[in-house]
Subunit: 420 residues, 2 copies
């Protein structure tokens, strides 16, 4: 976490860019002149085209998966090479032609998602939801302090930032009703989260111990787990969240390498209950991360969720996920769960910001919100400390809410190939 | 469901084979002489090598996905061609060299699984579990009669029949304990299910209406959703099953085309509650299926679960899965949930067969079981009526329980590339 400051880049990166030499996040992009999706690295307000600068076809597959599958030694080598190429003036002539202005690029989903797991690791969030949804009961279920609770989400509906969020339809049951009705969700919400992308697989039957996180996790992104609270409330007992979540999950286009976050590593909060040995990180190198999120609704800052307060770390999440013998694949994505702090304005969801819809949130433009309205635009950003005082940006994950689609079944609109 | 009987095959298929001309299930196989995994069709005790007989590289990719993605017209055409080639003596000379004895083939996972969803659609099973796990309460949760409940499982741990089942470890908490301990599952169980494989994708925002099942579902397999009941019981509130299921899910190697099941289609049981319109199949063509399962433990028949009694049909499951706008991908797998009938010997899980472990099951060899022991071998088979009195076989999904693996972390056994 120290060492001499790196040489400056010949690129002339503006101070406070967030995309300096300490970051170098990976993404997949295309341009008007070349519409093939290919891997690149964000540097300042440019993207370095990795297919061009390396000549390696692994970067031309349209996702980061093939490169991620090469494993941590290869990730280290390329990262070191990138710093050399971007700081040593002798590489400038070779490298410069492969820079593309970020503003001209279209950003794609960076990873072909294998399995997507969503955890529930903020104690403040879990307690808030317990108090809102089960008033009078214990805020935490008995298992919460013993393991990072999680569930599998739908990998096929993970999309890149900017993809419109069509309001989902489904079954909803009001508190006074015996039976559900059907219609657009009236409690559409966000969940501001951090996602962890697995690069290097692990075989079945070989749990990933706490110190082994960096052998498997390639990098970190922002994630918005859009949630329909009314659908979720009606469906989730006993099998957990399903259609209330599976319509869309957005991720940021830039994956910050785990190696970029060395200076952000901190001790996680004190554990109230000593975890079982496979989760006990008291003697391990810490994997708390000092990432500060911000949530904006239609441009107004509404929340500043602190990732540093997360009770369970990504190392514990990965250890738990694999302790039963489950294998990991390149492209697996696991997310932290909603990041919330103890204060209302640190909440990573509107169900907390509006306390179950009972205390509307006032926006600076005079409007109020409980849950999301059609047309609303939500942006989640985050920063973390880099080395030498630099600040790392995670970019953003954003999306605009669109009205529920008209219910046209395929039968009505497409000629039937089977005549049924 | 009638029509003239088809011509016999020049192959001379034994009566009662289960793999006659009405079945023609697809799988992926390799042989000692040619170890490339490739697609084939089971016919009698042979496999017809589709790469050889068609010359089409779509069948040489190592999974059925590329062919399934071509859509229902293509599925129909090949199926019609196969019948012609196997019945018309004029094709014999060309086709016969591409037949491989089934006994000489190694069978692979037939489908690259995209998302895996597990439903919970047997009313008898849901009521049994409610009575066993929540005695005194209502056997069904209030939502059960209104929608096919489901959750996402781990796609990366879906394996082909025959893969050993290593007993998972995890957190378990006894009924008298305040805190959990850690160790091998002591309540390892099966769930006998039917799986449905999506061939043709559907776009986001376009729910698949009840009649559209055959546009999207390519075929049907057997599935064993191995379950660690002690891990599951401790973890599943409030996010649903996770590590109690994610260690392994086995599927049969043969995918029976949906088109083969025309004669097995029946009306599902009467619904106690009229479902919301998107799930109401009263006026639709029925998608109940008369599939009879059998479960064997170490060769002894222990259960005969009747799929015909399932409350929710695959058409309703698919309509529900997509009604919130979720897209489908080629390779998506959704399973019925445990198939159980009203009688004890129709139960698709040992937690039901032994009534929560309280009433041990006696086997003909004098041994007793509550849950699975190391070394136990479980086989699930199924048959369905074909046209013209033929019986279709689904083959089998089988697995043997192995002891929990020694807990060697990767750190202990592999040199660390990152030195952490």
């Amino acid at each position: 976490m120290s060492g001499s400051p790196p040489a400056a880049s010949w690129l002339g990166i503006p101070a406070g860019s967030g995309f300096g030499l300490e970051n170098l996040p990976y993404g997949v992009f295309s341009t008007g002149r070349d519409n093939r999706p290919r891997s690149g690295v964000a540097i300042g307000d440019q993207i370095l085209d990795l297919t061009g600068v390396t000549g390696d076809p692994v970067h031309g597959t349209g996702s980061l998966n093939a490169f991620m599958a090469q494993g941590p030694r290869r990730w280290q080598t390329l990262r070191a090479d990138l710093v050399t190429w971007l700081t040593d003036e002798r590489h400038r002539r070779r490298v410069e032609p492969h820079l593309v202005p970020r503003g001209e690029a279209r950003l794609h989903l960076p990873v072909e998602i294998a399995d997507y797991v969503d955890f529930y690791s903020s104690r403040d969030h879990a307690e808030n939801l317990g108090r809102i949804l089960r008033p009078g009961g214990a805020p935490l279920t008995p298992n919460w302090l013993h393991m990072p609770l999680g569930y599998h989400g739908r990998a096929g509906t993970v999309v890149v930032s900017g993809t419109p969020v069509t309001r989902p339809r489904g079954q909803r049951r009001g508190p006074a009703d015996d039976t559900p009705d059907f219609g657009p969700s009236q409690r559409l919400d966000i969940e501001a989260e951090i996602g962890f992308v697995v690069g290097s697989p692990s075989p079945a039957g070989r749990p990933v111990a706490l110190p082994d996180l960096p052998r498997h996790v390639f990098g970190v992104c922002l994630l918005n787990d859009w949630s329909a609270r009314d659908l979720q409330a009606w469906e989730y007992v006993p099998l957990g969240p399903f259609l209330g979540k599976s319509f869309l999950t957005s991720v940021s286009p830039w994956v910050v390498p785990l190696a970029a976050l060395e200076a952000a590593r901190i001790r996680p909060p004190r554990r109230e209950v000593t975890p079982l040995p496979y989760l006990d990180d008291a003697a391990a190198e810490p994997w708390g991360l000092d990432i500060q999120l911000e949530v904006r609704l239609n441009g107004h800052l509404v929340s500043r969720p602190p990732f540093r307060l997360m009770y369970w770390t990504p190392a514990q999440q990965l250890a738990h996920l694999t302790v039963n013998g489950a294998s990991l694949r390149t492209g697996d994505l696991f997310a932290s769960g909603t990041v919330s702090g103890p204060a209302r304005h640190q909440s990573g969801s509107f169900i907390e910001l509006s306390w179950g819809g009972r205390e509307p949130l006032e926006l600076p433009d005079g409007s109020v919100r409980v849950f999301l309205q059609d047309g609303d635009h939500v942006t989640i950003t985050a920063v973390a400390p880099g080395r030498h005082g630099e600040t790392l940006s995670f970019g953003e994950v954003a999306g605009r809410v669109q009205p529920a689609a008209a219910l046209t079944s395929q039968t009505a609109s497409v000629p039937g190939p089977l005549g049924v």
